[in-house]
Symmetry: C2
Subunit: 274 residues, 2 copies
């Protein structure tokens, strides 16, 4: 049964829009997933989807009914919204008629240990300290997925990983990649326990990133947009590297910098030389 | 003389906020520059600043008076706003008390020829086709500055380079780097005339970007976030390259992809090998 919703005052709609706020997400342990691509990846990754709002008039493709059926099969309640209601729910420029309420995954460092021990490769992780902008964090996840990194640890979070703009900028890789929120202390202990070296990107390093050996088990450490890494984290780094800056600006966008380091690790690991 | 503004209804304030809209920017040939770092770079680059709004209560540093004095010296009218007025003018989360109205630079392909002929290096350019998101375009400019690229050509624009979010994401490198808006036809002709090879990033290329020779005069060609490159542009490319994608997602953020290609060109040109 698909329940129709014709009023934006529907309590379910009000609850969904309240989840745009971190306070509500933290209090309820739920969050929003909007968009076909994002929901497709959430569904593949068996994220628990509580409710799904659909609006046929806003569909952009032909595969929506199949995805809705797949999600419905797992016991999700589906609501059919009239366009003006869906447009209130949506936080996108181009709504595509699909938005869900899901349970937060709450992946832990322990889960990450499990997935590492199931992998045959040399660990490649990202530790992101206090990233502020959800778009940057999502873009970092998208790049981490692209190089098949083993996971991302978000430390002392400024933005929570369930922010709708993280989900969007990650294009759903938030669901397919282990992403852990943890405090700095636990993360440092966990990395030591797994003998994973911390490689810090800092403008003060003597060595450029293309000259640092990233072929061993390594966690690439990146800091906030405004302030970079804190001394506490920098003091833990076994490797330090800088990205050459030849222009007037003194830093790159944090997601750009992270992606450069990830692809450099990939290039080195695959032994690709020009 | 610094003129005080105590009301958000002041016509100068109204005019400034109207420049958030592209229609107004296109009609007037003016745009907004907000923030110390951005204004500092605009001032260095001799961008014509028409009016400057300041709000001492919002200053974050100690160098603002010196910058204001430097800008004032060039004949700019300065307005001192009370905080509630400045907060209306600002489009940032953290206003820092400086916002200006400036004349669009309107750099042309001809200007780019001039700056290329003054440079001793092998040309490295970016051609961006129809980028939609201002944040992406600004981040591309920031990375282009970082590798000391010779310029960025924005073709068949979807977002104009004077969008406030381009200025912000570029951290002011929009002013220090030649950035040209041009149509595709003229750009292709110009590149041929200067014997600059077009290197297209496309997922269908046989060769990875680290295996393509980017040491000659080259323009890195990137397409829209949604659709990639159009056939018209792809058919012009002398070089094609792809970025390895090992995860579930089929593409990177467009600014991330561009930055990877730029830094790969830099790595090859500097002969850096691990």
């Amino acid at each position: 049964m698909i329940e129709p919703i014709t009023s934006a005052k529907n309590p379910k709609v009000k609850y969904a829009t309240s989840l745009r706020e971190r306070r509500e997400r933290d209090a309820t342990g739920e969050f929003l997933i909007e968009g076909y691509r994002e929901l497709f990846r959430a569904c593949q990754a068996h994220v628990a989807i509580d409710s799904l709002f659909v609006c046929e008039e806003r569909f952009l493709g032909a595969n929506e009914p199949a995805l809705i059926a797949a999600i419905k099969k797992s016991g999700t309640k589906v609501y059919a919204c009239v366009p003006h209601v869906f447009d209130k729910l949506s936080y996108r420029d181009r709504p595509d008629g699909l938005l869900a309420i899901a349970k937060q995954m709450k992946t832990s460092l322990h889960d990450l240990s499990t997935s590492l021990s199931a992998s045959s490769g040399v660990p490649l992780l990202i530790v992101a300290e206090a990233i502020e902008k959800p778009g940057n964090l999502g873009t970092i996840l998208r790049s981490a997925d692209a190089v098949a990194a083993d996971g991302v640890i978000v430390c002392d979070r400024c933005t929570d990983i369930y922010n709708p703009n993280v989900v969007r900028a990650s294009t759903g890789t938030l669901f397919t990649l282990p992403v852990v929120e943890a405090d700095g202390e636990s993360t440092i202990g966990w990395l030591k326990q797994h003998r994973i070296a911390i490689a810090a990107a800092t403008p003060h390093a003597a060595t450029e990133f293309t000259d640092v050996d990233l072929t061993g088990p390594v966690a690439i450490l990146i800091g906030t947009e405004q302030l970079g890494l804190t001394p506490r984290w920098l003091s833990q780094a076994e490797l330090e590297m800088r990205i050459p800056m030849l222009g007037v600006a003194d830093s790159l966008n944090v997601a750009t910098a992270t992606s450069l380091l990830l692809y450099e690790a990939l290039r080195q690991r695959r032994g690709v030389h020009v």
